[in-house]
């Protein structure tokens, strides 16, 4: 549990750091204007090309848009995985070093081993993506290289650093123990820094296409590549992807642990993979908690950059996609909580807090229903369609926002409560002040829920822009409640007795399916959100600057988009199962069987 608390506080520190940066950025409503007086692009500084359909090479049997879409999505799945895993591997390694507990070290080593096989698939899918862009969208790619040329070169060179760090980190693991451990962790830190920079550079291309900066209205590039990189959406996307990568990495290694648990031959293996699954689930949930905040920030920046794009995103055709998002996030929360409830069966005897689980389950289900039903009424999609048309705002983002935000914040609190109950089940408070502290924690939950619900109801009575702004106090309430309760719990846990033992390995199989649900839902959700991000550009390659004149410029229906996302998810899982299988080869199988059955501190 301390491990999780450390990961969480680390993540929180990052959020605070990023959040502390000027959140009201100095962006311009229009793209940065060129300093020279001429309105028109000049011969030496041409604008974005105006393409026609003839400028797009086509090949029989190959749908260009689909090719780039699948290649990009696969690349993002793998990249998220290989960037997220080293972050929590370093943290776990650090904890193991501080505790002197070699089990943490071995688990961290195993996590990084899983991501090794994925690393080359990341590069492969990246290569396919680049070639697909060069061959099928040469006009767009030429323009992007004109703007980002130096950045692309830097990106390519940094892969040398990434490879060097990763291989040194992984292959040096066993030999760099003892006195050399700090040096090994420094390599791990370097790996993470390089990985984060790589992600940041690549993010800038995506955000430039959505909200171009550093170019004028015709797309003429003035030469300041930093202005093109640091657009209004860049930092929000960096934060969002950084956090989401950690959560995603956790979910995928959780699936690995679940699979290995099901396939385990010996009780020792079951113990090992059960503990791994529990840790992975924890990482996924802890990193998931601040994500709504990052998402809110990103949407706020989109609205600020172009209210038209913002309204298209939340109020037009795309609004329906957020209903699907709600279903997926509800699934994720239910799966994670279900896993925790099953986890309580690891404890001896009657669980003192287990009876509360059904209430939490009830709360989660209600929130889920509120969230994925527009206007909080249960209406079938056909009824809604009968009411609305292409731009119908029944989904009226602004009308549903109040309910949605309220529900998601309650779900986060409910999940956190589950974690606390899980934790408390294993300890007995010995000191009298602890009972009072617990009452205080209950009070914090009650007050937090009341505040969130009140803000949600209040939102129905205020104008739209105030309503959107109410999300911030709701999230702040949730975060404060969590931080206060974690702090108190840590103190209580440190001074309490452990009662009974945790029987790692004693988990029902259905709990492993919950971990798989987590991994599949996370992947599918990522695919969906990636589609949304890309498609709100609609018929633009670079929004308002370079028009997409290809035959595939149309926006597909939601069903069609979902089908592609599903295909990408299936393809990814087929490949990742291959990676899991590869990681089974190796010499440290012996290490796992040496694990004792005694409970490891969660």
């Amino acid at each position: 549990m301390r491990a999780l608390a450390a990961v969480f506080l680390f993540v929180l520190a990052l959020v605070a750091f990023e959040g502390g940066c000027p959140v009201v950025p100095a962006y311009a409503a229009a793209p940065v204007t060129d300093t020279t007086p001429a309105d028109e692009p000049t011969a030496s500084r041409p604008g974005a090309p105006k393409l026609t359909v003839a400028d797009y090479p086509t090949y029989r049997g190959l749908n260009s848009r689909l090719t780039v879409w699948v290649a990009a999505q696969l690349h993002l799945f793998f990249a998220a995985f290989v960037l997220g895993v080293p972050i929590f591997v370093l943290v776990i390694e650090f904890i193991g070093w501080r505790n002197g507990d070699s089990r943490y070290d071995r688990m961290a080593h195993e996590f990084i081993k899983i991501s090794m096989g994925a690393f080359s698939l990341t590069a492969t899918s990246g290569g396919i993506l680049v070639f697909a862009l060069v061959v099928l969208y040469p006009g767009l790619f030429a323009y992007l290289t004109r703007v980002f040329g130096p950045i692309m070169m830097l990106y390519a060179l940094l892969f040398l650093a990434e490879t060097a760090c990763l291989y040194a980190y992984y292959y040096g693991w066993d030999s760099m123990q003892g006195r050399r451990k700090p040096g090994h962790m420094l390599i791990g830190l370097a790996l993470n820094v390089v990985g984060t920079v790589l992600m940041g550079l690549a993010n800038s291309w995506a955000t430039f296409m959505m909200a171009p900066s550093g170019v004028d209205a015709q797309g003429a590039f003035a030469g300041d590549v930093w202005a093109a990189v640091a657009g209004p959406l860049w930092t929000p996307l960096n934060l969002h992807r950084f956090l989401a990568n950690i959560a995603y990495g956790g979910a995928i290694v959780g699936a690995y642990a679940a699979y290995k648990f099901i396939a385990a031959g010996t009780p020792e293996e079951k113990v090992h993979y059960d503990w791994m699954g529990h840790t992975a689930n924890g990482i996924a949930i802890v990193a998931l908690l601040p994500l709504p905040f990052a998402g809110y920030w990103m949407t706020k920046e989109i609205y600020a950059y172009s209210q038209q794009m913002g309204i298209t995103l939340m109020g037009g055709v795309f609004a329906w996609l957020f209903i699907i998002q709600a279903v997926l996030i509800g699934t994720i929360f239910l799966a994670a909580n279900f896993y925790l409830w099953c986890g309580m069966t690891r404890f001896d005897g009657a669980n003192r807090t287990a009876h509360l689980v059904k209430y939490i389950a009830g709360v989660l289900v209600i929130c889920f229903l509120v969230w994925f039903t527009p206007h909080t009424l249960v209406m079938t999609a056909r009824e809604l369609a009968a009411i609305g048309g292409a731009y119908h705002p029944v989904l009226g983002p602004l009308g549903v926002m109040s309910a949605k935000n309220t529900a998601v914040n309650i779900m986060i609190l409910a999940t956190f409560l589950t974690y606390q109950l899980f934790r408390r089940a294993m300890i007995r408070s010995v000191e009298p002040w602890m009972a009072r502290a617990t009452r205080f924690q209950v009070a914090v939950y009650v007050a937090a829920v009341a505040n969130i619900v009140w803000l949600g109801i209040y939102g129905y009575y205020v104008p739209a822009n105030v309503r959107i702004g109410l999300s911030v106090p709701q999230v702040m309430t949730t975060l404060i409640a969590i931080v206060v309760c974690v702090a108190i719990d840590e103190v209580i846990a440190a001074r309490s007795e452990r009662i009974g033992t945790v029987h790692w390995g004693r988990m029902p199989v259905r709990a492993q399916y919950a971990l798989f649900t987590l991994a599949v839902a996370f992947t599918w959700l990522m695919g969906l959100m990636g589609y949304i991000r890309s498609s709100i550009r609609q018929h633009w390659h670079v929004y308002t600057v370079m028009r997409d004149a290809s035959a595939d410029a149309f926006t597909p229906t939601i069903g069609q988009a979902a089908a592609v996302v599903s295909a990408c998810t299936l393809l990814f899982f087929a490949l990742i199962l291959f990676v899991f299988w590869l990681s089974g080869f190796g010499r440290d199988r012996g290490a796992r069987t040496a694990l004792a059955g005694a409970g490891a501190t969660p």
């Binding site: 009452r439 009650v446 007050a447």
Partner: protein
Amino acid sequence: MRAAIRNRVEGLIRNRPSWKIFETLLYALGMGAIFYLVDVLSMRWQGLALH
């Protein structure tokens, strides 16, 4: 029926909600005030007002 009700009422009186619940509610009120302050400040930070 009347006996059952009388038993129940007697049981409730015997096990009065203890001061612990009131204490918790008091903490909740205090935290509620803090959360309200958070609401006002975070709205003001965005340039909006909490009416």
